[in-house]
């Protein structure tokens, strides 16, 4: 049914349609409205046979979720930012135990400095945790991806993080098509756990594994997550056939045919970029968008196919690895090993700085007119602020984006 509602309420409704048996979460902006709404649906009785459990921290929220999932019920939780970090120990346990929990991450920056706004630092910080990480480009995509996430998680036997941009999506009031219960029931049958804790037939879960088998356990975990590539594609196809939509999947290409440059983007900036690319097309500039949906597992083959024979690729990265560079870049380079594609990373949209249509057009201009000086460029940076901070050191950056080369040169300038 079509509704004009807040993204967070849409997610709560989607989760309720999946009939979880346990929901346990601790509130943190910008995730709060999601779990508040799930709580309301439980209280008013529209989400039946579900235990909504209030706890005192995110660590408890995921720990209780682990207990519930190990007990054999469909389990959901949500968090963001420091909350995700606070539960990090349990994050690894959930995947190591192979529990099909679904968790929303309403993506937000990590402090210090404290910042409640959207970027991808929180979700990407858990990239090695063994969870599947699915990014959403719109609220409709997020509603649909949550429903798919339970099916994918339960089929693969691993937890799934659904990453949606905090505030930009969670707090946006938009037209959403919320599927009917009948459709979701048909798509997502009742959860049948293969193995669960049952006092009548006691088993032990989470045994200690020593050096004699730890590597093998890790290999099998990697094999399991690798198998989810096929599952994500198949489940997305099945869901989209039912709804007629184009949600989920490993990645999605927009205007990619004969594109002279392709931008790789995750999350809500994809929508903004689509509008910008359409405007560029009217001026005869052909730029494509690769919306990366599955970040873990990383779809290397699909990415290589999506890039194809395009000679220029720009990755818009909304997170950063200090002391290294962009986080997506090495993954993209692995995808295109052996090709002579020029790939540049642009750091944009950190801590809620808006990614504008003009930002996207700027990236296209930089790529097509060979303005990128280096692998990495701090693209939407405010040079005036930097220069006022560095003025005692006698350093001054020119207006505009700053490349890694310029950063390095400024260090030499400081020593002199």
């Amino acid at each position: 049914m079509l509704e004009q509602i807040e993204g967070s309420l849409g997610i709560a409704k989607a989760v309720a349609l999946c009939r979880p048996g346990a929901v346990c979460a601790y509130p943190i902006s910008p995730q709060t409205h999601i779990v508040e709404n799930v709580g309301k649906l439980v209280k008013e009785g529209s989400l039946k046979d579900c235990e909504f459990i209030n706890v005192e921290s995110e660590f408890s929220a995921l720990s209780v979720s682990i207990g519930a999932s190990a007990g054999g019920v469909r389990t959901y939780t949500a968090t963001a930012s420091q909350g995700l970090l606070f539960m990090a120990e349990a994050v690894y346990n959930a995947s190591g135990l192979g529990l099909p929990i679904v968790m929303t991450v309403a993506s937000r920056a990590i402090g210090a400095p404290i910042n409640i706004w959207n970027d991808h630092s929180d979700s990407l910080s858990q990239r090695d945790s063994g969870w599947l990480q699915l990014f959403c480009e719109s609220n409709q995509d997020a509603v649909d991806t949550h429903i798919m996430a339970f099916k994918i998680a339960e089929e693969v036997g691993l937890p799934v993080m659904v990453c949606m941009d905090g505030f930009v999506l969670t707090h946006a009031f938009e037209r959403l098509d919320i599927p009917e219960q009948e459709l979701v029931d048909k798509f997502l049958p009742e959860y049948q756990p293969k193995e669960f804790l049952n006092p009548d037939e006691p088993i032990s879960m989470g045994a200690m594994v020593g050096p004699e088998a730890f590597t093998e356990v890790r290999f099998l975990q990697q094999r399991k997550i690798a198998s989810s590539l096929e599952v994500i594609e198949r489940v997305s196809k099945e869901f989209n056939a039912l709804t007629g939509r184009n949600s989920g999947g490993l990645l999605d290409c927009y205007n990619c045919e004969n594109a002279d440059v392709k931008l790789i983007i995750m999350g809500s900036s994809v929508g903004t970029a689509k509008d910008a690319v359409d405007e560029l097309k009217e001026q005869g500039i052909n730029a494509g968008i690769i919306s990366l949906k599955a970040y873990r597992p990383f779809p290397y083959e699909a990415m290589r196919a999506a890039i194809g024979d395009t000679k220029k690729v720009v990755i818009l990265e909304r997170a950063f690895s200090f002391g290294a560079r962009g986080i997506l870049y090495p993954e993209v380079m692995r995808s295109i090993k052996g090709l002579d594609t020029q790939v540049n990373t642009a750091i944009c949209g950190l801590g809620g700085r808006a990614v504008l249509g003009s930002t996207i057009k700027g990236l296209v201009d930089y790529a097509l007119n060979d303005k990128f000086e280096d692998e990495l460029t701090w693209f939407d940076i405010d040079t005036d602020t930097l220069n006022s901070y560095l003025k005692d050191k006698g350093i001054s950056f020119p207006q505009g984006p700053i490349s890694e080369k310029q950063l390095e040169a400024s260090l030499k300038g400081a020593k002199a």
């Binding site: 009031f173 808006a354 990614v355």
Partner: protein
């Protein structure tokens, strides 16, 4: 696409007004989007919210930098920040005030087409019917009257949907007062 920026202060229902605007447009079969500028959630602090209306799927999520309409729920903001920044040349400005636009924003009246800068005593109307200084519904009704992009009826319905019962009805009555006030002003002009 019609892009609207709403300015007000925390506690005046600015974010709700943007949401109700999107709901009103939705009820008329349009695509609509509303979102707040995030961060300043303190009572009395300047708050900005945005709304878009279109006849096709709205994909962009960038803040609105070039609005076609600006709604100012609190006139004390006029001297505090540039609320009309980026307002298009054929845009609309609706200000919550009983004073004539020529008195409070003479330069804007000069710049925009005739009848595009309007004032409405929205807080007074709200006090009469709701009994609280919540100017959201009358401001939206004034915007509807000025632009004809959506109906008074949809504004009323959106508030009655969100707040069923007395509160919704009081908002609906307030909206009607503001709508008729603007329609009369336009007739006079």
């Amino acid at each position: 696409m019609l892009q609207i920026r709403l300015h007000g202060r925390g506690g005046q229902g600015v974010v709700t007004a943007a949401e109700m605007l999107s709901l009103a447009a939705f009820l008329e079969g349009h695509f609509a989007q509303a979102f707040p500028s995030f961060g300043s959630e303190r009572t009395g602090a300047p708050v900005v919210a945005y709304a878009r209306i279109d006849d096709k799927d709205i994909r962009t999520h960038e803040p609105i930098l070039k609005p076609n309409a600006v709604v100012v729920q609190d006139r004390t903001l006029l001297s505090a920040l540039d609320v009309f920044a980026g307002l298009t040349e054929d845009g609309y400005a609706i200000i919550n005030s009983a004073d004539d636009p020529k008195v409070i924003v003479p330069e804007l009246v000069e710049r925009l087409p005739k009848g595009h800068v309007l004032t409405v005593p929205a807080t007074d109307f709200a006090m009469q019917k709701i009994g609280r200084p919540l100017p959201g519904a009358p401001m939206l009704a004034a915007l509807a009257a000025a632009t004809n992009v959506f109906d008074l009826n949809s504004v009323q319905k959106s508030f009655q949907t969100r707040y069923p019962g007395k509160v919704g009805d009081a908002n609906a009555e307030t909206a009607a007062l503001a709508y008729n006030y603007i329609k009369d002003k336009i007739k006079e002009a």
